[in-house]
Structure formats: structure tokens, C-alpha cells
């Protein structure tokens, strides 16, 4: 099969804003025929917006959606050959189960005899035989969702869109339905586009996972790729549990982090390059005998999690690591640890310091982030365009938001073993990255200040 017929939906440069907020930012995505693809991300990342655009409920500001070679960007939803399963089921309350499922078939003028057989088949598929005459309001959440799925698949769409279909169900039911969905996908052989914020669900179900954040695609890959080879610290943090640490690539195949040098399998980063290192908690080997270990530490906490124990260990150099192991180690005991070279995942750092664009307002003041900051005199004059940079750990945050030069909101927190790496969104929508030992919560309003000596100014041309 050539590449053209293998792609069922092609999304090209799709962008959308609601007011000032950019919800989708230049999305490009190829969806293969018959695959189970999941759009995964935290709430507000744009995944539902993207799904609603594929369904036709929203129009993009720019870009195109191409299905089987036809541009369907402007095609209204009722003419698109795809069907949706909604998060809150969206069954028609005035119709019974049979009438709900027949809704689409009747509109398409399918003969009554065929409607009958197709509905029976669909009901069998979702294990809801004998429920035809039931009032949909009398069904449980799980049953309603099954009817919603039957109502969609009975129309034999080329693509089935599922918008967090299991989010409203309890855990046990969710697990059962996951298995059934997977089986249904295999039996039907059609393309499933699935939206969820549950990373475990995404890894369980999908052929391809699309991790989204801030209206952008962060990474596209198989569940195994996404888990083992996260492309950046956001993906590493969002998918599964992980230890994300600052490191330095000494040279190829050797990386230094948590105060020790480790052999690794990554290369091509150059020498002495700052990197992010990801180690999954189940990939750290922990032993009671500290003497022959690569590095040692003290167990700070140990919690039973069912299959394994989850421990926090403070290493000899003062870093905190999360470790999962089948054996429990006593709190306070000294332990030894190993990490295999292939279990160390090295990622390019997205940035090594904050850089803001601005201009001089006097030889010793600069306007950045929509406010005036003091800086050291570096021979530039008023009106000069500049770049101002500041190290992550030189940005100060104040409890009282009025105390800072500008105000911001803590948007994202990453624990890096011995400090927190925060993303703070200013009122102007710019991002300031901060390394701190203080504990902040997501959504905290903070004041941001930078002392004059920490602000490095370079001329911008």
C-alpha cells in the first residue's frame, strides 16, 4: 500500500485561538487507516478542541483537515463520514435504546429490515442485547456509554472519535471497558481517535500516542517509545512516574548526575553539555549491601502500592529519588543502588536560562515582561533593543504578589531530585522558568523579581 492510501486523515498547520488564548498552535498530524490513535495531555492542552475540529463542531482559524484526499475543513459535521462518542454520553433522553441507535440509520434512509439487523449486531458487540426497549435514563453510566458506542458504530463510520468516553466511569468499569474497546477496534478494523488525560489508558489502548501540551504536539510515537524515550521533561513527567534530574554529558556514553558519573548509551550531545536525565523508578536497583553499590542513600519513606513498594531515598549527595521495588527496605536504613546504562535516558535541555526580549528605558533600567527592571550599566542607551537573560536559580519569587516587579501564576512544577523547576506564567503570557527549593503549588500567584546584578543584557539587532 502506498503512503497516500495508508493515511486516512491528514492534519495540516491547524491553529485556533479563543480570544487571546492560543488553543492549537500549528498542529500537523497524519493518522493511519485502521490505527488506534490517542490524543493525550492535561486539561486545556487542546486535545478536545482538536477532536471537535475533526468532528466538524469547530472551525480552525487556519490550516486544513484532509480526509481520504478531500479537504473537509469546511464540511459541516452531518456530512462527515465519522461518528463521535461523547464524554457525557449525549444519548437522546426522549428515545429508548433502540430508537437512539436507529437515529443515524433512519436519517440515512436505511431500509427498516436492515436497521433491525444492524442494531442487533451493534447491541451484541457492546454486550447490550435485550436492552432495546429500555428507557435510556434507567441505564447505569456504563450501560449508557455502551449504547452511545453502539449508536456511533452502527453507522459504520470510517473513523470513530471518542472524547474521554470512560472518564465518568469508576475504576473497575473503566478497566473492563478499555479491554472491550480494544477488542472492538480489532473487530471493526476502523480508525479510532481517542482523547484522554489518563496516561495509563493511553498506553494500554493505543497504537500511537500523541502527547499534547499548550496547544502543541510534544511527541508522537508508540506507547513503548513514549514511555522509554520521552523527548522532553514534560513528556517524561506526564507519562508514568519518573526521576527527572539535571545532568552534564561529559562526553559520548558518559553522563554525570546526582553527583556521580554513569555510563550510558546516548551520544551526540557534545562534551560538557547540560542535559536532562530521566530514570524510571522501577529502573533503579536497590540492595541492602551498600558497599559494592554504585552510590548509596538513606530510605526516607516506604509505601506499599499493591504489586510493589514505592520508596523515596536520599542519596549520599543529597538528591531525592523515587524507587519502586518488590522488596521493602526499612525507613532509615542505608541502601546501595545501581542503574543500568540502558535505563538512563538522556534528553536535550530545552533551555539553560531565561531569555527575554526587551529594550532599554535608561542606561540602568530595562523593560522586559511588561515591566521595568533595574540592571547594571553596560554601556547601552535608552531605546536600544536588547536580550536580557537570567539563570533559573536567580529569579526570586515572593509570596505576596505585589512585592514582585511583575505578577505571575505557577503553571507547572517539575521536581528535579534536589530542587523544583517551576514554569511561571506572567500576566502578559510570557513564561519565566525558576529553580527553587521552596515548595509552591500549581496556581499560586507570585511576585517575580530579579536583582540588577543577575540580569545579563546583550544588544539585539
Amino acid at each position: 500500500m502506498d503512503n497516500k492510501t495508508n493515511t486516512i486523515i491528514k492534519i495540516e498547520h491547524l491553529s485556533k485561538s479563543f480570544g487571546d488564548k492560543v488553543v492549537l498552535n500549528d498542529i500537523n498530524l497524519d493518522i493511519r487507516r485502521g490505527e488506534f490513535i490517542t490524543l493525550l495531555g492535561p486539561s486545556g492542552c487542546g486535545k478536545t478542541t482538536l477532536l471537535r475540529m475533526i468532528a466538524g463542531f469547530l472551525k480552525p482559524d487556519s490550516g486544513a483537515i484532509v480526509m481520504d484526499g478531500n479537504n473537509i475543513t469546511e464540511v459541516p459535521p452531518h456530512l462527515r463520514p465519522l461518528n463521535t462518542v461523547f464524554q457525557r454520553y449525549a444519548l437522546f433522553p426522549h428515545l429508548n435504546v433502540y430508537e437512539n441507535i436507529a437515529f443515524g440509520l433512519k436519517l440515512n434512509k436505511v431500509p427498516a429490515q436492515e436497521i433491525e439487523t444492524r442494531i442487533r449486531k451493534a447491541l451484541r458487540m457492546v454486550s447490550m442485547t435485550d436492552y432495546e426497549d429500555r428507557d435510556v435514563n434507567s441505564l447505569s453510566g456504563g450501560q449508557q456509554q455502551r449504547v452511545a458506542i453502539a449508536r456511533a458504530i452502527v453507522n459504520r463510520p470510517k473513523v470513530l472519535l471518542l472524547d474521554e468516553p470512560l472518564a465518568a466511569l469508576d475504576l473497575k468499569m473503566r478497566k473492563d471497558m478499555q479491554m472491550e474497546l480494544k477488542q472492538m477496534h480489532q473487530e471493526l478494523g476502523i480508525t479510532f481517535i481517542y482523547v484522554t488525560h489518563d496516561q495509563e489508558e493511553a498506553l494500554t489502548l493505543s497504537d500511537t500516542v500523541v502527547v499534547m501540551s499548550d496547544g502543541k504536539i510534544q511527541q508522537i510515537g508508540t506507547p513503548i517509545d513514549i514511555y522509554n524515550e520521552p523527548i522532553n521533561s514534560f513528556v517524561a513527567d506526564f507519562i508514568g512516574e519518573s526521576n527527572i534530574l539535571n545532568g552534564t554529558m561529559a562526553h559520548d556514553l558518559e553522563v554525570e548526575f546526582i553527583g556521580h558519573t554513569f555510563e550510558c548509551v546516548d551520544k551526540g550531545f557534545g562534551s560538557n553539555a547540560p542535559v536532562d536525565v530521566v530514570v524510571r523508578p522501577e529502573d533503579i536497583y536497590i540492595i541492602a549491601n551498600a558497599e559494592n553499590a554504585k552510590f548509596t542513600g538513606t530510605v526516607k519513606s516506604c509505601i506499599f502500592k499493591g504489586v510493589h513498594y514505592e520508596m523515596f531515598v536520599e542519596t549520599d549527595k543529597g538528591y531525592e529519588l523515587m524507587i519502586q521495588d518488590y522488596n521493602a527496605f526499612e525507613v532509615g536504613s542505608t541502601v546501595g543502588m545501581f542503574i543500568k546504562p540502558s535505563d538512563i535516558h538522556v534528553m536535550q535541555k530545552e533551555r539553560i536560562c531565561n531569555t527575554f526580549e526587551g529594550r532599554m528605558t535608561s542606561p540602568t533600567t530595562v523593560e522586559i515582561l511588561g515591566a521595568e527592571f533595574e540592571c547594571a550599566d553596560c554601556g547601552l542607551k535608552e531605546g536600544d533593543n536588547i536580550y536580557a537573560s537570567v539563570n533559573f536559580n536567580r529569579v526570586e519569587l515572593q509570596d505576596n504578589k505585589e512585592d514582585g516587579t511583575v505578577m505571575g501564576e505557577v503553571e507547572f512544577i517539575l521536581y528535579k531530585g534536589n530542587h523544583y523547576h517551576l514554569t511561571v506564567l506572567t500576566d502578559d503570557g510570557e513564561k519565566v522558568y525558576v529553580d527553587t527549593n521552596d515548595i509552591w503549588d500549581k496556581g499560586d500567584l507570585v511576585g517575580i523579581s530579579i536583582s540588577a546584578s543577575d540580569l545579563h543584557i546583550t544588544k539585539r539587532v
Binding site: A55, G56, F57, P76, P77, H78, L79, N83, T84, F86, Q87, R88, Y89, A90, L91, F92, P93, H94, F103, G104, L107, N108, N137, S138, R151, A152, N155
Partner: protein, 266 residues
Amino acid sequence: MKKFFAQTYLWLLLALLYAPIIIIGIFSFTEAKVLGNWTGFSTKLYTSLFSGGVGNGLLSAIENTFTIAIIAAAISTILGSFAAIGIHNLRGRKRQAITLLNNIPMLNPDIITGISLFLLFITLGITQGYLTVVLAHIAFCTPYVVLSVMPRLQQMNPNIYEAALDLGATPLQALWKVIIPEIRPGMISGFILAFTLSIDDFAVTIFTKGNQGLETLSTFIYADARKGGLTPELRPLSTIIFVTVLLLLIIINIRARRAARKAENI
């Protein structure tokens, strides 16, 4: 003891409230011309009412009242339902503004509505009569329909309209097959409300009925009373209207309770 007083108070209050209606009801079953004289049980006033013993004036007033009520209620139900759907799809300040504009006519005293419509029709040079009364009734009934349809729309799962589109319905089919069935109970309540409001109305009708001799029940009774004494047949008529309105109210209440119980079950 305390309970006894509470009960007595309640029944006394109810008796005072309903005494006029009950008295009319009782005295509709006697023949005496003057209200208050009991000359023995008789259904003569009822037979006379229905066999035309009261002259054409009253009968045509009854006919006008009911046809106006049905036309006005039907049209305001349609207008009000579409208005409610429109308001429901608005957001933020616009929605608040329109909702306020919808609520003001309901709080406005009838007499003001009547006078302003009267002046409007005069200014526009429209001859007042049956048509102007119907238009006026539609004007003051529509906001009530909007008010009774809105809650149904708010309870509705916002995705069901999209679900209908998704399954191949055109926007018009989705409206007809999904939205209308969902808000139908609100539309029916709105219709009944509009119907009773229209039958009941005096202030607006008196200003918009013109001088071509159009009478509805309320204006007829008013004129009749001013001529000196009420026609005795008005007693059975009032009784019938009261019982009709009572039945309608009971129906509305039962419907509302059933809807609430259904909502609880979901």
C-alpha cells in the same frame, strides 16, 4: 393545643380566600335574580347560559375570549421557544441583557402595558379590534413562555445537539428531532400559562379592543356590572371558568412534579 390553633388559623385563612368563589359557586345553583337570595336548588341558570337565554353579547364574549387565548398562546409558545433557544446560545453580557429585557415586561404593571400598546396602535394608525387584542396578548404572554422553556434548555445535555449533527442530522432536523422533544414539557407549560394569562386579562384588553364592539369576558362583565347589576348567568359561568383554571393548574403541578421526580432518578 398549639397545633389546634395553627390548624384553625390555616382553615380560616383558606375560607376567607375562597369564600367569594364558593359563594358564587353555591348561588349558581339557584334561580334568584339577586345574589344572596336562595330560592331552592336549580340548574336553570346553567341551562339558560348554554341555551342562549343571555343574548348574543355574552356568548360572543366567551367565544372571543377563548379564540384569542388559543391563538395568542399558540403564537407566543412558538415565538417564546425560539427566543429561549436563541438566548440559551448567547454568552456572557449579551445573554444577561436579553434576559433582563425579557423579564421587564413581566414586572411591568398590566395597565402600563395596556396604555403603551394603545398609544402604539394609535401612533401607527392601526384600527383596534380583534387583531390588536391578539397582538397585545402575544406581547405580554411571550416572556412567560421564554421563562418556562429556559430551565429545560439549561438541564439539557449540551452535547445532544452535536450528537444529532454527528449522526447525520442537518441543523434543522436536529432542532426538530432532538431539541424540540427535549423542551416540549416547557413549551406545554408555557402554552398553558399563556392561555390562562390571556383569559384572565382585563387591563391590556380594555385598552386595545377598540370601539368596534369587541368584548371579551372580562370587559363584558365589567360593562355589564356598570349597567346595573350582574346578569345572573355570570354565576354559573364564573364557576365553570374557575373549575377550568383549577384543573389546568392541577395539570401543570402534576407535570412539574413528575418532571422533578424523573430528574431525580437520572
